[in-house]
């Protein structure tokens, strides 16, 4: 049975590694300017974790194969080097590896969170509420009108609770159900939660950020490829959580300008 354990474990290890090694399950194409650093970090970590996984499982399989139910009368012995060798190995190999990953990985995190948006980044507000995302553009005056939660009226499509009658800046605000942006232009996305916690996740942008009620959070990013990408909610928000999504449309600049003009006319 010990030998059988060894064999089964080797098979499990090889079968588990196969989809990774053959890249059967990979992240989608990266359409962001910061994503390559994340992808590199992921690849490096996969290589190191993969080696640790395969190495440890094969060692376990081999030792169980060789040292179980021995009938040859040989004595039990200790591994030369003993515990000291194990501790040294752990500190030197794993310690260096994980600290290296941690230190090297700071840049990818810093690219997303420690750089401020450029002053000319296009501001768009995203609101998450059970169970839809809505987006607001500031319009020609470049300013967002204030939000009035008591004025929210979904039936009349006043998702944000705007009061154009009394707030001048709200009059030209453009509200949409899709996040449409121009390619190669930095976007400063302001995140507003209407009711409970939600989260903004676009796989291709390599971005994920919670919407927290009561907190002014934001993201900034630049999309480098046109196309239609899914925005999905990743913070459990109630029964419609599975269905809470929107689309990110990345358009060429002139197409975006036309789109925005058309939306402004509709408001």
């Amino acid at each position: 049975m010990g030998k059988f354990f060894g064999v089964i474990l080797v098979l499990i290890t090889l079968v588990s590694a196969y989809p990774i090694v053959t890249h059967k399950f990979v992240q989608p194409v990266d359409i962001s300017t910061h994503g390559h650093a994340i992808d590199e970090q992921l690849a490096d970590t996969m290589a190191e974790a993969g080696l640790a996984f395969v190495g440890a499982q094969l060692l376990l399989a081999f030792f169980v194969w060789k040292f179980s139910n021995r009938k040859d009368g040989s004595k039990v012995v200790h591994l030369p080097g003993g515990a000291k060798l194990m501790v040294a190995t752990a500190f030197i190999f794993i310690g260096t590896e994980v600290l290296a990953l941690g230190v090297l990985g700071q840049k990818a995190w810093a690219d997303v969170y420690f750089t401020a948006p450029k002053p000319d980044a296009m501001q768009i507000q995203a609101q998450a509420g059970q169970f839809a995302f809505y987006f607001r553009y500031p319009g020609a005056d470049g300013r967002f009108g204030p939000l009035h939660p008591d004025k929210i009226d979904e039936g009349n499509q006043n998702y944000f609770g705007l009061d154009p009658a009394n707030d001048v800046e709200a009059r030209d605000d453009i509200v949409t159900a899709e996040l449409t942006i121009p390619i190669n232009r930095e976007i400063h996305l302001l995140l507003h939660a209407k009711d409970v916690g939600h989260s903004f996740y676009v796989r291709e942008l390599r971005l994920q950020q919670d919407f927290v009620p009561g907190l002014d959070l934001s993201l900034h990013f630049t999309a480098t490829k046109t196309g239609k990408y899914e925005i999905v909610c990743t913070q459990l928000c109630g029964l419609g959580h599975y269905n809470m999504k929107a689309y990110l449309n990345v358009l060429a600049q002139d197409e975006f300008d036309k789109w925005l003009k058309d939306r402004a006319a509709e408001q």
């Binding site: 994340i38 992921l42 970590t45 515990a83 941690g102 109630g238 959580h241 599975y242």
Partner: protein, 593 residues
């Protein structure tokens, strides 16, 4: 404290009558079995809930027979609604993390064996011990009652993030009295665990037999002791968190709820609270909690492996210090559950470094096991197979932690099936393997009978292969960005992943069914198993020096005296290949420590 005095004081009277023997027992052995039985009930409930979940994900329109009768609102006609899926998910997590993984390896086996392994007659506070079990049982009943109220169980997950969990029933089904019952149940559970932890600590420090220095305690005793130190501090934080949640829900306070929230078209009458406060409180408990779940299993597996290998570990001291380091570091890492939560991104980096550092003691522990297997003579049986399987699972579950510990990678993998795969491998498989290994190992001592070895091995092989088939693919799904806690997969990118989900669901049903083999073995062997000798495994620690099952006061009229550490295997010059811990037989040229 190093060399504890003999404790000849009779801790409690011999139990008389059915109620004192089997219901309100003061005997740590009965209380341990009661905890184990509760955990067994909870694990089967939790497993059935997961079957419903896996069924619904793959066949969302299927009518599940009988479910419509139990949950007419949640599953009308037996078809699970999105909200009921979330209820199943919430109760699955709550039952498994609290009532299985904290109960069985720690409160169950710890209660039964810690006093015996240190040579004591019982725990230091038998009445506290009884109260801790009964509080836990009441907590269980309160939790399960949420299934039977009209609005059903809560849908906010075992993590119950505010404001979803705090604003009340405006936010969705189950968030009225279901959430109240959840918070009350967990608060009661905390009280039970605090009483238990106090008991373990006092007993370990004060009731050790003559010669039983701290460093001569078995590794599993150390694991229970370290776990109880963590538990005392961790549950002391979760308890007030649950009380604050109840106050927000029932007394109009706003600890976790800011102003201006419009939920289901109603402006909520709260102001000033912080949803992040709940997350900090919860995870400050929640991360040490997962070490509470795994450390006893680490201890049990070490104990079983040593006996099975017929040799001690390369170094028990290194193992003990590594467990202590994990316990210490576990307090510094809670923010790794909150990298993208909106907390200061600089603190994410601060949390990342201790998280990565925990890899070091975890690797030391794994290498000590692996290195100790070299040159061993492993006796393969159900207990040792589950212990070896644990080592494999600990590695598998541990390496996915490398990814999640890094905030930059967590941007992509957070809230995906990658995370679900990680914690299921370490908790849902490895910790369970620790419980199963302990069960096969200690069943003869607890019941006086042997379990059926053939059934045990069949159980092992199906479970070992089956759990890999279930949880390894979770990681692949996560790498593609498959989001977790979704009751259906309607997104464009999900369609190609459905065959993987089908494979997982079928593996789950088969592996789950194999657990019935274990249940049958447990029950059948209890009544019809072969009579067990006092020491069927030729093991050395004190539990193997007393009858199977032990008398009410463990050591009868004897007060055990120990002469060396508990792992004298393969000793040169001894009569067999082992020396019992209470044997004065001289250790001639024994292992270098």
């Amino acid at each position: 404290m190093e060399d504890a005095a003999v404790q000849p004081v009779q801790v409690h009277a011999p139990p008389e009558g059915f109620i004192r023997k089997f219901v309100f027992s003061l005997d740590h052995k009965m209380i341990g079995k009661q905890y184990y039985g509760l955990a067994l009930m909870a694990v089967f409930m939790g497993m059935v809930l997961s079957w419903f979940m896996r069924f619904h994900l793959v066949w969302p329109d299927a009518k599940i027979p009988g479910l419509g009768a139990i949950a007419p609102t949640g599953a009308p006609g037996g078809v699970i609604t999105p909200e009921y899926y979330l209820s199943l998910l919430t109760m699955h997590g709550t039952l498994m993390v609290f009532f299985v993984l904290t109960n069985a390896p720690f409160a169950g086996f710890g209660n039964y064996f810690l006093p015996i392994q240190i040579g004591a007659e019982d725990m230091a506070f038998p009445r506290f011990n009884m109260m801790s079990f009964w509080t836990t049982l009441v907590a269980f009943i309160v939790l399960v009652s949420a299934f039977f109220i009209p609005d059903g169980p809560p849908i906010s997950g075992w993590t119950a993030y505010a404001p979803l969990s705090a604003v009340g029933k405006d936010a969705g089904p189950g968030l009225g009295w279901g959430q109240n019952l959840w918070a009350m149940s967990i608060a009661l559970f905390c009280v039970g665990q605090l009483l238990g932890s106090l008991n373990f600590i006092a007993t370990t420090l004060d009731l050790r037999a003559k010669g039983m220095t701290l460093m001569r305690m078995p590794i599993c005793t150390w694991a229970w002791f370290i776990t109880s130190c963590i538990g005392l501090l961790a549950f002391a934080v979760l308890l007030p968190a649950c009380l604050l949640l109840l106050l927000d829900r029932m007394a109009g306070t706003s600890f976790f709820i800011p102003s201006g929230l419009v939920v289901s078209d109603r402006l909520q009458n709260h102001a000033g609270g912080s949803p992040l406060l709940w997350q900090h409180l919860f995870w400050f408990f929640g991360h040490p909690e997962v070490y509470i779940a795994i450390l006893p299993a680490v201890g049990i597996v070490s104990h079983v492996l040593i006996t099975s290998m017929r040799k001690p570990l390369l170094s028990a001291k290194v193992m003990i210090y590594s467990m202590m380091s994990i316990g210490f570091l576990s307090w510094m890492v809670w923010g790794h559950h909150m990298f993208v939560s909106g907390m200061n991104p600089f603190s994410s980096l601060l949390f990342s470094f201790p998280t990565l550092t925990i890899t070091i003691p975890a690797t030391i522990i794994t290498l000590i096991w692996l290195g100790s297997l070299f040159g061993a003579n492993i006796q393969i049986n159900s207990a040792s197979l589950f212990a070896l399987g644990f080592v494999s699972m600990f590695v598998s579950g541990g390496v996915s932690g490398f990814f999640l510990a890094q905030p930059s990678i967590d941007i992509y993998l957070h809230a995906t099936y990658f995370v679900v795969g990680h914690f299921h491998m370490v908790m849902g498989v490895a910790a369970i393997f620790g419980i199963l290994s302990g069960t096969y190992f200690w069943f003869p001592k607890m019941s006086g009978r042997m379990m059926n070895e053939t059934l045990g091995q069949i159980h092992f092989w199906i479970t070992f292969v089956g759990t890999y088939c279930i949880f390894m693919p979770f990681h692949y799904l996560g790498l593609v960005g498959n989001v977790r806690r979704y009751s259906s997969f309607v997104d464009d990118f999900m369609a190609p992943l459905m065959p993987v989900h089908k494979f997982i669901s079928i593996a789950a049903f088969i592996t789950g069914a194999a657990q019935l083999i274990f249940l049958y073995n447990l029950i059948h062997s209890r009544f019809r198993g072969k009579i067990a000798p006092e020491n069927p495994w030729n093991a050395t620690s004190l539990e193997w020096s007393i009858p199977s099952p032990p008398p009410w006061n463990n050591f009868g009229d004897k007060h055990p005296v120990v002469f060396h550490d508990p792992y004298q295997y393969g000793v040169k010059g001894s009569k067999g290949d082992f020396v019992m811990q209470d044997s004065p037989e001289q250790v001639v040229g024994g292992w270098d420590k």
